[in-house]
Each structure stands twice: as C-alpha cells, then as structure tokens.
C-alpha cells in the first residue's frame, strides 16, 4: 500500500533569543491509507511540531529540513499557495482545544462552508447542504440548526465534532489529530475517538493521532511512534508496543497509563525526574538521567534507532 505521508529525516529548529533549539531531530515516519499512526510522548517532546512542519504551519521563527512527502510531493519545498490548496483539502489537522479552534464571531455554518467554497468551488446552497450532511455524519444532532449558531453556543464536545467535520469536509487523504480529546471529559473523549475511527474506516482516511496518553490510542492506532526530546525512541505495531515495550521510556509511559482492567490500583505512577529541557539536553541518550536501567555507555553515546527502538539494552523484559 502506498504511503500517504512519508516523513524522512525531519529536523525542526526554532531560533530563540539565545540561539537555536532543535525541537524535532531526525524523525522518519510514514502512514498509509486507512491506517492510523499514533504518536505518543510527554509534553514538549516535539509531537506537534513534527506535524506542524508537515503541514507547513511552523511559527515564523521555525525552520524544517528533511523531507515531508505527501503522495510523493515534498511539502517543505512547495510554495505557500500550493500548500494552501493542499491544506484543508487533502491534508487537514484538528487541534487540541476545541474551545479556541473556531473563530468566535463567525457562525459555525459560515466557517464550514468557507472551506467548501474555497476548495471545491461550490456555491452557497451546495456548500450548506454538504456541511449539514457532514455535521450529521459526525453525529451532531440537529445539524441544520447548529449551522446558524456561534461557537460559544456549543459545548466542547460538539465543537470538537465541528472541527472534525470541518477537517473531513473535502474528503482529505490525511487527517492529523493533535490531542483531539485532551481538553474534553472522559465520556466525550470516547465519543470523539469513535467518530475518528468511524471516519477512518468509512472514508479510508490516513489518520495521525497525537497524544500523551497511551490509553487514547490503544484502541485506534495500527502503528505507534514514541517520541522523547524531539526523537523517536521506539516505533512499531501498536500491539507490540503495548505488549512488549522495548524502550524503558515506553515502559514508564505504560506504567503511567491508568488501566481500566486494573481495579485495585492504589496510586498513579509518574516518571521520575524532569522532562528534558531542549536547550540543555543531556549527552548520550536524552532519557538517561531518568532511566532505571542506565548504563555507562548511555551517558556518552546516543543509541541509534535500530529495529524499532533507540536503546542499548538488549531486552527490556530481562532487565525488568
């Protein structure tokens, strides 16, 4: 199956007041049609910036190098107007906070139809009909009436559905969902994930699901990439990562994820130590100061990503 998105050796730098930080280092990822790729990692690990770069949406102080191939076309070298014809049309993104993702003074309907008019050249009535149909598809009740509402009149869950509907309006080949459920309460989270799954299955969209919560992607992702300090530290089929994590960081992430099947849980585990500071990364493996299995070698040498893990340990299961 041809890959919809193929990221090769992506680096993202930001120029900041005292120099330059590298938020994403040598990241390579791919996602195929109808497939879901889960991206996990703590806050600041570069999950969002990887895909902001892929969308060409980096802040003005950011630069991306490497390749982001979308159907074989390197997005990084495209002109802004060429990207604008891709964005919202063939590749789309849904953000974390549905409360602030819609323009406050525009009716929901106007924001949806604008996208269709822009990319599909539809007239108003056609655009309106298609937008209503899409709202109904993401299970928004009374879709027609919601079109006339303003964002502040909708709940968070509904707004996120509107965002997903907006992202799917033009039938994109790629949907990037950046922590789409983090800002929502648990029951709504599950509904939103259901909507994403359903859309992935019915529309055959390639989905990238970014989260810091492994539980969120457990039921949805086919493949998972775990990021730490801007690098991929482990990648593989979702089931393998959940069953036999190969990197100590993945293992600690799993230990932090509350499991519904473990009833007698006393307290939540957290990963010891501070998340890394990109401006002062530790030498060697960036995770070594927090790693329970740290070896002398880890402090000086950076483990390359081989066989789906970036770790010198031969077998994590033996070490633990």
């Amino acid at each position: 199956m041809a890959n919809v998105l193929d990221i090769r050796n992506l680096n993202v730098h930001f120029s900041v007041r005292d120099g330059d930080v590298q938020a994403v280092s040598d990241v390579s990822l791919s996602v195929a049609k109808g497939e879901c790729l889960g991206i996990v990692g703590e806050s600041g690990s570069g999950k969002s910036q990887t895909f902001m770069a892929a969308m060409g949406l980096l802040a003005t102080n950011g630069r991306a190098t490497g390749e982001v191939n979308f159907h074989g076309q390197n997005v990084l070298t495209l002109s802004e107007s060429a990207r604008n014809t891709l964005r919202g049309n063939r590749m789309t993104m849904v953000f974390q906070d549905p409360m602030t993702s819609l323009t406050p003074h525009m009716r929901v309907g106007a924001q949806l139809t604008e996208v269709l008019q822009r990319h599909r050249g539809l007239d108003r009535t056609q655009a309106h009909q298609q937008a209503v149909a899409m709202l109904a598809r993401v299970h928004i009740p009374e879709a027609d009436r919601r079109m006339a509402m303003y964002p502040h009149e909708l709940s968070g869950g509904l707004r996120q559905r509107v965002m997903i509907a907006m992202a799917l309006l033009c039938g994109p080949e790629l949907l990037i969902a950046d922590e789409p459920t983090t800002a929502l309460d648990v029951t709504v989270q599950a509904q939103i994930l259901d909507v994403i799954r359903e859309m992935k299955d019915t529309l055959n969209t390639a989905v990238v699901l970014i989260t810091h919560d492994l539980g969120v992607i457990a039921g949805l992702a086919d493949h998972v990439a775990v990021m730490y300090a801007g690098r991929i530290v482990e990648t593989g089929a979702a089931r393998d990562i959940f069953m036999v994590p190969k990197h100590p960081y993945t293992q600690s992430l799993l230990a932090c994820t509350p499991r519904l099947d473990e009833v007698k849980r006393t307290s939540l585990t957290t990963i010891a130590g501070q998340p890394p500071n990109l401006e002062h990364l530790p030498t060697g493996c960036a995770f070594h100061p927090r790693c329970p299995y740290v070896m002398a070698r880890c402090r000086t040498e950076r483990p390359p990503l081989i066989g789906g893990k970036a770790c010198f340990l031969d077998q994590l299961s033996l070490a633990s």
Partner: protein, 293 residues
C-alpha cells in the same frame, strides 16, 4: 458548559449581539449614545429650520444681541450680528464631520498597517513599525503647518492630516491585538484549512480586533475634535465664514468678559459631546470585554 441554549435566548446570537445587549443595560452609555445622536441630527438638520443662516449678518443689529425670540435669534448673536445657534450647529457639523472622517482615515490606515505588520511579522513588521516610530517623532503641528502652507487651507486636507497622525496609535493597537490573536488556535485552524494570509487577516483577524478598535474610536473622535479646535486656534483650521466648535470657542474666549454667552454656547455643545463619547467608550469597553463573560 452545556449545549442547552438558555430559555428565551434564540440560537445564533453573535458576540456582537451579546455586547449590544450588555451595552443597552448600561444607562450612562445609552444616554450618551442618545445625546450624541440628537446632537448629530440637530447639527445636520437644525440649520434648515432656523430663520438665520450661519453666515448671515443681521444688519439691523451688528452687535452681540442677547437671546431674542422675536428676531429669531434664539441664543442671541455674535459680535458681528450672526445668529449664534445657527453658527454653533454649523460648527457642530464641521467638528463632527472632521471627527468622523479623520477617525475613519485613521481607522482604515491603522487597521491595514497594524494587521499586516502583526500577522506577517518578521521584516514587514520591522519596516512598518519603524516607519510608525519615525512618524511619531515628527513634530506633527509643524507637519500640518507645512502641509497647510503648501496646499493652502483646505477642509479635506485637514482631516487627512489629522487622520494621518491618529492612525499611528491605531496601528500600534491593532498590531498588538493581532500579535495575541495570531497564536490563537483558531488562526492555526484557519491556516490548516487552507486559508491564505489575506483571507485570514480579513476574515479571522480584523473582525476580532474590531471590539478594541471601536472603543479606541470613541476616544479618538473627541481627540480629533479637540485637535481641530487647536488647529483653528492657531488659525489653521476652517476658514471664515465657515466655522467649527473650535473656531467659535476661540472667538468666544476673546469676548469672555463682555459676552460670556458666545463662549458658553459652543463650549457646552462641545463639552457634552466629548463627555458622551467618553461615557460611550467606557460602556463599550465593558460590553466588549471578553474577560467579563
């Protein structure tokens, strides 16, 4: 947070409608708005209903007459026998027009420059904002005098000149607002849906800065009116027999001891107008303040 719409509140109520609702609950603001509308209407239409024109000299009484209903001088005349009410209303027309037009000029330039500088950022921002800084430093009165000398005293030129200064602050305000909006998720979302820079500035940035801008407009109009008075005071404003509140106050001030009426009448109109704009501005700020929601 619920998606139940409050009873009696129809769905599809914009933030503007909410703000209007809050504004109409503010007595001082509503009264001010009504007074302003009345002053504007009276200034526009009043002169047609008066027996005397603003530039007509009552040759039988070439002197400052006290109010005299029989002669149709409801507020008396000025020292050369022109009807004071007619002149004050005409002056109101001029002052309000200058206020509105110059503010519109400031608004258009300020919003354009501010939003582009803020949104595009980097070099464009640097270039535009340094230009604004330089303009700030130019002694403005001096500039206006040069313009007036070069092009002659001229009504259009005056409001262009005033607008050309007032836009500087407007541009800074709009730029500041744009910078905070730029990092909001809805701007990223708009870009992620393929919106071009122009589209985003026009549809997503400018409508969102309008709230702040409108408050500033209500503060700018009185500033411009005062500025026009100042220019008139220097003899650079409108030309006789055309008049403005500034010109009238200037003339009245000279007569303060003999005929305080010629100062009090235009000064009262102008003061009330300025006060009303300020109250309205305060009310608008409260009504539009998103933190209050």
């Amino acid at each position: 947070m619920s998606d139940v719409i409050f009873e009696g509140q129809p769905a599809g109520r914009s933030l503007w409608q909410d703000a209007w609702h809050r504004l109409s609950a503010n007595k001082a603001a509503v009264v001010s708005l009504v007074i302003l509308i009345v002053i504007a209407l009276v200034s526009i239409f009043g002169p047609y209903f008066l027996p005397w024109r603003y530039d007509e000299i009552d040759w039988n009484h070439v002197e400052a007459l006290p109010p005299n209903f029989a002669l149709g001088h409801y507020l008396g005349t000025d020292t050369v026998g022109r009807d004071l009410l007619a002149r004050t209303l005409m002056g109101g027309r001029v002052s309000l027009t200058v206020g509105l037009l110059a503010t519109s000029v400031a608004l258009i330039i300020g919003i354009t420059v501010g939003s582009i500088a803020g949104f595009v950022g980097a070099r464009v921002d640097q270039a535009l904002m340094r230009f604004v800084d330089i303009m700030y430093v130019v002694p403005f009165t001096f500039l206006v005098i040069i313009l007036m000398v070069m092009f002659g005293r001229n009504f259009v030129l005056m409001f262009i000149a005033i607008g050309a200064v007032e836009w500087l602050t407007m541009a800074r305000i709009v730029r500041g607002q744009t910078l905070t909006l730029k990092h909001k998720e809805f701007i990223d979302a708009a870009r992620a849906s393929g919106g071009s820079t122009t589209n985003i500035i026009l549809r997503h940035i400018i409508p969102n800065v309008l709230g702040v801008v409108i408050v500033y407009v209500t503060l700018t109009i009185p500033q411009v009116i005062l500025f026009e008075s100042f220019l008139s005071f220097l003899g650079l404003g409108v030309q006789e027999p055309m008049t403005s509140w500034g010109v009238l106050i200037n003339e009245g001030a000279a007569e303060l001891e003999i005929n305080p009426r010629t100062l009090i009448v235009p000064a009262a109109f102008m003061t009330i107008t300025l006060f009303c704009f300020n109250f309205l501005g305060d009310g608008l700020r409260d009504a539009l303040d998103p933190n209050d929601r």
